[in-house]
Amino acid sequence: MPVIRAFALAALVVATILLATALLLALGGYDVRVALGALWTGSVGSWYALTSATLVRAIPLMLTGCAVAVAFRAGVFNIGAEGQLLAGAAAATAIALSVPSLGRAALLLALVAGAVGGAAWAAIAAALRARFGVLEVISTIMLNFVALYGVSYLVRGPLQEPTHAYPQTSPIADAVRLGQVPGAGRLHLGILIALATVVGTGWVLRHTAAGFRLMVVGESPSAAASAGLVDVGRVTARAFMFSGALAGLAGSVEVLGVTYALYENISPGYGYTAIAVALLAGLDPWRVILSAVLFAALEAGAGAMQRDAGVPSTLVSVVEALLILAVVGAQALRRRQMAPVATTILSPAPDA
């Protein structure tokens, strides 16, 4: 009964999150009932909240969460989804603004440009790892800062709107935007792109030779290399860039479906939340969908808690961090009890 087990597990996770949040609220001296009420109303309490607040946020979290899951599965600690998202958003905006006359074709081009931009940004870290052995944990974090300042420069320089009054680009033409889902508020068609991409990625991981190679390399690069099965370096680099492409796609979907322009604070840290999303999903793309919706609801509700109950929205980061620690702690404890099969995913050995 894997389905029942999965739902029981999901219920347990939600209960744990609510309990932890309630405990933190009580510790902070807030009215727990009012705050949790706001959390509920702001996230899933109404059709509008569910679609326009929660699901809209779930879209970039699905794509970046899937990006992190693929990378971690391959033994690549890509902490750079945030920077790759920004690179993708910048590339998509540049294309969408430069060829608006192409209409729907421009939309497609912009989406692809986002994925290519994200992959290119990840390629820098992938090349540094392959060529110089630079720890990608550090390089991707550095590249996040570079991307942030890069966007800051673009929206005050070459891509700034013509009046030069605001640090943002001109709005993207209507024809190049992703349409809305009828009857679902601000929810846009990016939800279909995200679902299709994540489901497809999960299928590739499970059912193709490429997916098998990726997981073998992630589990044990030295075994993969000595068995002569795969070119470890190439598989790693490809997984890294594919991960970047997913994050970049999140960036393009965000500008084409939500913001319709590029500006500095386009992402409230989706690329960082993605790490929690992926870990909670056990690095499984299909389960990323559920965990992305969960974190999206948490973040949407956090906004409402801040508005209605005066609870700092940063409390969500605390809950997320505790959740990651709970997951790695539980895995570490289980590894002690069980034979070490398939539990090495989160602690891969370095490249052979």
């Binding site: 600690f77 550090i138 300042y149 969500v316 570490a332």
Partner: protein
């Protein structure tokens, strides 16, 4: 302002910016020499910065530094709990601790100080000019008219170098970073030493954060660590896991950051993002250039496999 007149302020800004980086990086040297890598250093610095705000508001300058160190120690203790006691993954634990620190300091800051922000009148360490040395031409003011915590770095770097190279405990620490199994067989308490190194690293990270608030900014801002923990980890690589090298590496990064003040003083017009991005680009370049030629502790990042 002429170029020559800009040299003194440039050097002073270099040393000022380098101080917290050097403190954090020296702590991480101990951690990495013991065979661990603590990405949560960023979180320790941020926790230290917030601790400094709380401590200084309540108990003045001394209170600020004390609570900063204590906050860094807490982050270190959490890292030790997960990584040593539970053998959890170091990278993920460190990432989660940084996220925890960002969330906890942000939440507490907004809850305690509201949206109005902290008092801008925190007590801050003044400059303590050393007699004679500070009156040396050009470099005197830059090197020897700094807050006392900078002089601590001048003492700490050679002291750590000596400790690692010439004491029994220092040699034991290096041994557990290279061959933990062999070290344990030789009777060295591997995990106890590693916990000690982690706590020392956390405390120095906290002190680095305290320095940001108490000797530089004079106030706290959310996320004010701004990646310094990650830069410090890169400096450890650049300095090849040696305290003196690491201190010099921190100076290099201080100089890169100080360039923006120098260029502004000389009226050089360029996008300001270019200056802000220099330390991060330099980190990437340094990592690419340094890693190939330096050798990391052999057991870096691997848990002790005893069972």
């Amino acid at each position: 302002m002429s170029a020559l007149e800009a040299v003194g302020p440039f050097l002073a800004a270099t040393v000022r910016t380098a101080t917290p980086l050097a403190l954090a990086a020296l702590g991480e040297v101990l951690v990495e020499r013991a065979g661990l890598i603590n990405i949560g250093l960023e979180g320790a610095i941020l926790a230290g910065a917030f601790g400094a705000l709380v401590g200084a508001t309540a108990g003045g300058l001394g209170g600020g530094y004390a609570v900063a160190v204590a906050a860094g120690l807490i982050v270190g203790a959490l890292f030790a709990l997960f990584v040593i006691a539970m053998k959890a993954d170091q990278i993920i634990t460190g990432t989660a601790l940084t996220l925890l620190s960002v969330g906890a300091t942000g939440t507490l800051y907004r809850a305690l100080y509201g949206s109005s922000g902290a008092a801008l009148t925190l007590p801050t360490s003044g400059v303590l000019p050393l007699p004679f040395l500070s009156s040396l031409p050009v470099v005197g003011g830059a090197l020897f008219a700094q807050p006392p915590v900078t002089y601590l770095v001048y003492l700490l770097a050679p002291a750590l170098a000596w400790w690692l190279g010439h004491t029994h405990a220092g040699l034991a620490l290096r041994a557990i970073g290279e061959r933990p199994e062999a070290a344990e067989a030789a009777g060295i308490p591997v995990n106890r030493l590693r916990v000690g190194a982690i706590l020392a690293g956390g405390a120095l990270g906290g002190l680095a954060g305290g320095t940001l608030v108490l000797a530089q900014a004079g106030t706290f801002a959310e996320n004010m660590s701004a990646g310094r923990g990650f830069i410090a980890i890169a400096i450890v690589v650049l300095g090849r896991w040696r305290p003196i090298g690491v201190a010099l590496g921190a100076l290099l990064f201080g100089a890169a950051s100080a360039l923006q003040f120098a260029f502004q003083a000389m009226g050089w017009d360029a996008p300001y993002q270019l200056f802000l991005v220099i330390p991060y680009l330099l980190t990437l370049a340094a990592l690419a250039g340094a890693v190939g030629r330096a050798r990391a502790p052999t057991a870096l990042g691997k848990p002790l496999s005893r069972d």
